[in-house]
């Protein structure tokens, strides 16, 4: 740490966000706010069937409808997502021979505006021959009722792992207990739907793409790969983005159509998803089954987990990464969570089905794995008649075990696992809760408490959104002494313009207000991996620190030369450089910049002209683990089946905090999504493969009345990486569902209930109570 700025002034402070004024005044521009004369809009005709052969299409009426400029089918844009070398199947951006899920785009109508495009879409007639849809993942794995893609097995990812000596140790344990856990499809539901606009720059012939994405460079690379453009011919601009949560880390068929149409029609083209399209075609998530088994001894010590992880990946692996693979493979590696469980054996099967492709949603594997892991722990406690907190204590990884290699081979850096739980128990006054619970039960009221201790792998060498393990910063001190730094990150509300400026201001020695952070433009930003997988803080922030430090070193050299002092005597701060102990011998950074850019003869030998550089940072560790504990108190109304969250506590450890206010915002938002995941949100398909939840009247999101006040405490176990920062974008949603449903199991213990499915719905409660 010694090389860091001496007195961080901004890192760790509750600095107000620089993004806010434009957002609060309605001046911020999102993709749909980009309007250019002559812009055309797209509407899609989507499959009404889960599985059908397309027999014929009649597009004549649509082609002649008012305002229609083009009606496209696959022939007009014959692009396949995925080359066959990765998976055996490719996804046509517009279905042509066959449709494989409800909502799959088939025809694109490009018209003067969306009203007219939708008018024409209604005039398209398509004849289908329906097929038996593949809807049940267990059947699908057994190739029943048929293959989704005749050319490929339904199981497109299969993996088996067992730690050494598993069978022997597992079988030798005193007790065994098994359970099938299920998660229902959910999706991110960003409040701003997906949208893309594209236009050719007539002067240069370059393509400008406005994308609502988490990863500007990823979009650029995908366009180059799929449409044959050169990187220097494409500019991706990401204006304001209204939420991402993993769902906007993919490239979608609609994006390809928009760019391709802008190219071929030589017109600006825009597509903005409506909410029904979003629910049908944004990647879904969390369609998993875990057939899990735990072996344990009478003293509460857990010997091992066995798990068959299955995920329904939908009709195609989402491009460019499959959520089904992401959810299962990482879950299998972190399933033991914060516990020292020496043996694990996992089998993974990811299958195709006639449903929407499965992609990422905040936490990806995490909420599922935590649900399984914490569910098993609570079952062990109940089986042994012990307190769930005690079972956790018995199995928790101890501080002296770090760095800890878990039974699946993942290495954990330092964390505060046990401490976070004890702190959280204190905050809820656990003993007092148990007394209250008892009293209330006698009055016929059912309250329960649920504990969830989680680990969150962050800053991974490669994550879903960033295919790279590093981040880059292009930093420049302007001739006026102000700082500009450009990132390849793709913030969707996390406040990077604030947090990155905090880090850089400290390093360079300027005021926070004097730093401007640029992002979301591939023309100005260095190549970067984007935002996702909780990487922006630790990797992006790390790069900011390195860039700031390198720039600082330059300034120190220049100042030492100009002030005629040794480099070690130069201090920097508040926009000035001075000689330690002699504050009068000083120059402002503006004056230094004047030398660097204008009076360049005064630059000492060995220093370049100007003040700009590119810095990159790749953490040494492949992954850094944040951790924490969530405790939820709920009341279950056993007559109506409704569940109310009474109290919620989070003790979180994400290493050094850049801006606690922003961290708390992330936590609160993630817990709210956890409440949705646990009690409200479910995408339901009927027996024909129709998605029946196609509006926000059916897909229920938590509202202000469902989310309680959340008490948050921070613990700080610095990472070994730059700044001691760990990631934290996903942990809150990783920990929350498990805490919430464990609280329900606890509340309904008198009925013998144990939640095995996410979300828990009122009817489930009624069934337990009636049983």
């Amino acid at each position: 740490m010694t090389e860091q700025a001496m007195r961080p002034q901004f890192m760790g402070a509750r600095v107000k966000r620089v993004e806010d004024p434009r957002l609060l005044t309605g001046q911020a521009r999102y993709v749909d706010d980009i309007e250019v004369p002559g812009m055309l809009e797209v509407a899609f005709v989507r499959s009404p069937h889960a599985a059908a052969k397309i027999l014929s299409m009649d597009l004549e009426a649509a082609r002649h409808a008012p305002g229609v400029r083009a009606v496209w089918t696959f022939e007009d844009c014959p692009v396949m997502l995925w080359q066959r070398d990765t998976y055996e199947v490719g996804q046509p951006v517009l279905a042509h021979d066959e449709v494989r899920y409800v909502g799959e785009p088939i025809v694109a109508i490009i018209a003067e505006n969306r009203y007219l495009a939708e008018d024409a879409a209604e005039l398209v007639t398509i004849r289908y021959e329906t097929k038996t849809p593949v809807l049940d993942m267990v059947d699908a794995i057994a190739e029943s009722p048929r293959r989704v893609h005749p050319e490929a097995q339904n199981v497109f990812f299969h993996k088996v792992y067992a730690s050494k000596g598993f069978d022997e140790a597992f079988n030798a344990a005193e007790h065994h207990l098994s359970e099938t856990f299920r998660t229902t499809r959910q999706t991110a539901v960003t409040l701003e739907p997906r949208c893309t606009a594209a236009m050719l720059d007539p002067a240069s012939g370059r393509m400008t793409i406005y994308a609502s994405t988490q990863s500007p460079h990823r979009v650029r690379s995908d366009m180059c790969e799929l449409l044959g453009w050169d990187e220097n011919q494409i500019r991706v601009i990401v204006p304001e983005v209204g939420g991402g949560f993993g769902m906007k880390a993919n490239t979608y068929p609609e994006d390809i159509i928009v760019v391709s149409a802008a190219q071929k029609l030589r017109k600006p083209v825009k597509w903005v998803s409506d909410r029904t399209e979003s629910l049908l075609s944004d990647v879904h998530a969390r369609d998993d089954i875990h057939e899990a088994e735990v072996a344990f001894n009478s003293d509460g010590k857990i010997v091992g987990f066995r798990d068959h992880l299955m995920a329904d990946g939908g009709a195609y692996p989402a491009y460019p990464f499959s959520g089904a693979v992401g959810e299962t493979s990482l879950a299998s590696r972190v399933l033991t969570g914060p516990y020292d469980i020496p043996y694990i054996a996992t089998t993974i099967d990811c299958t195709y089905s006639n449903k929407t492709p499965l992609g990422a949603y905040r936490g990806v594997w995490g909420p599922i794995a935590s649900f399984v892991q914490e569910g098993l722990i609570d079952r062990v406690a109940r089986a042994l008649g012990k307190d769930p907190a005690d079972i956790r204590r018995i199995n928790m990884i101890r501080p002296d075990q770090f760095p800890y290699r878990n039974s699946a081979g993942m290495v954990y850096d330092q964390g505060s696992y046990g401490e976070s739980m004890e702190e959280a128990l204190k905050l809820v006054d656990y003993k007092e809760f148990r007394r209250r619970q008892d009293t209330l039960r006698h009055e016929g009221r059912y309250v329960g408490i649920g504990i969830s201790v989680f680990v969150e792998p962050t800053a991974m060498a490669s994550s879903e959104a960033g295919s790279v393990g590093y981040e880059s910063v292009f930093i420049r001190i302007e001739p006026t002494g102000k700082v500009t730094a450009a990132f390849g990150l793709g913030p969707t509300g996390q406040g990077h313009e604030t947090t990155m400026a905090q880090l850089i201001a400290d390093q360079v020695g300027v005021n926070f207000e004097d730093v401007v952070i640029l992002h979301g433009d591939t023309d100005s930003a260095p190549f970067g991996g984007g935002t996702g997988g909780s990487r922006s803080g630790p990797i992006g922030g790390g790069a900011a620190l390195v860039a700031g430090r390198e720039m600082r070193a330059r300034l120190v050299k220049l100042a030492a030369h100009l002030l005629e002092a040794g480099e070690e005597d130069i201090e920097l701060g508040a926009g000035k450089a001075w000689v330690a102990g002699v504050p009068d011998r000083a120059m402002t950074i503006k004056e230094l910049a004047e030398v660097a850019y204008t009076h360049v003869k005064r630059i000492p030998e060995g220093l370049p002209i100007g003040l700009e550089l590119v810095a990159r940072y790749q953490p040494k560790r492949a992954v850094s683990f944040s951790n924490g504990t969530h405790i939820a108190e709920v009341e279950v109304d056993v007559l109506s089946g409704l569940i109310r969250v009474l109290n919620y506590v989070v003790v979180n450890d994400c290493g050094r905090l850049i801006n606690p206010m922003i961290v708390e915002g992330q936590i609160q938002g993630g817990v709210a999504q956890g409440i949705g995941s646990a009690f409200l949100e479910s995408l339901r398909y009927d027996e024909h493969g129709q998605l029946v939840t196609t509006s926000l009247m059916d897909y229920l999101l938590p509202e202000a009345t469902e989310v309680p006040r959340i008490t948050t405490r921070h613990l700080v176990t610095p990472s070994e990486g730059e700044g001691g920062i760990k990631g934290m974008g996903e942990g809150s949603l990783i920990g929350a569902p498990a805490a919430l449903v464990n609280a329900v199991s606890d509340a309904l213990a008198p009925f013998g209930a144990m939640v095995r499915q996410l979300p828990v719905l009122p009817n489930d409660v009624l069934d337990w109570v009636n049983a």
């Binding site: 969306r114 009203y115 939708e118 008018d119 209604e122 409506d274 909410r275 029904t276 007559l639 109506s640 089946g641 409704l642 409200l680 509006s695 009247m697 229920l700 938590p702 509202e703 009345t705 469902e706 009122p762 009817n763 009624l766 009636n770």
Partner: protein
Amino acid sequence: MKPGAFEYRKATTVKDAVAWLHSDLNSKILAGGQSLVPVMNFRLAHPSLLVDINEIAALHQITFNADTVTLGALVRHQEMAESTEVRDRLPLLAVTARHIGHWAIRNRGTLGGSLAHADPASEWPAVMVALEAQIQVEGPDGARTIPASEFYLGYYTTELAADEIVTAVTISRTRHRLGFAEVARRPGDFALAGSIVEDFGDGQGSVTWFGVAGKPERVVLALPEEESARARSFQSALGKLSQLDDDRHRQQLAVTVAERAFQHSRLTGHEYLTFEGGQV
């Protein structure tokens, strides 16, 4: 999600509105638009003519008479929740209104629209059936009054002819204690089940449900003092509904909300003296 094209006309009299409706078989009344516009945005409805009735002043009135109150079709849900007269004299209506959608929906959605739309999970139709209200409608052949109990035929269907419009609802003096309860996933959602219970005070009463059957029906039943006996009474009343939802969870909830509505009718301060001078 953009609606198809239509012709738009603003009516200032009921007569004009009815005449326009009559002139085009594919026309529709536009009141608050809080049910119609979403359906049009989904392109599930394609009216060729929309007759906007919002500027028909007469339909906005709330009129209290000696023993009746007449509520105009365009009274907004939020007005019902906030009107001091309604709160004082028909508190059941104010309580009910607060359960409909969210604030922004209530500011625009109307009583008449809700009654005409006939969503089986919505509150107003059930309340009007429970209160034995009279629904006034007007068509090309003039006005007629339909008892709420006869107005509803089933899921989203009513006695109303395509060229008739709901103009008002009249509620007569009632003497009994009323209670209201509903269970919804989130506040503001349509009910999973809801109920209005009236306690005649002599061991008898009535129950009207919403959300559990194709249409609201008022059932007279015994209201014994003993809770489990009452539950049985609710259960058998439920069996009398002609279009009961066969979902057993719904049925269970129906009994739960009926009991809660009954308890609500008993709360002090919630004695529903529907009119000044009325008795408990």
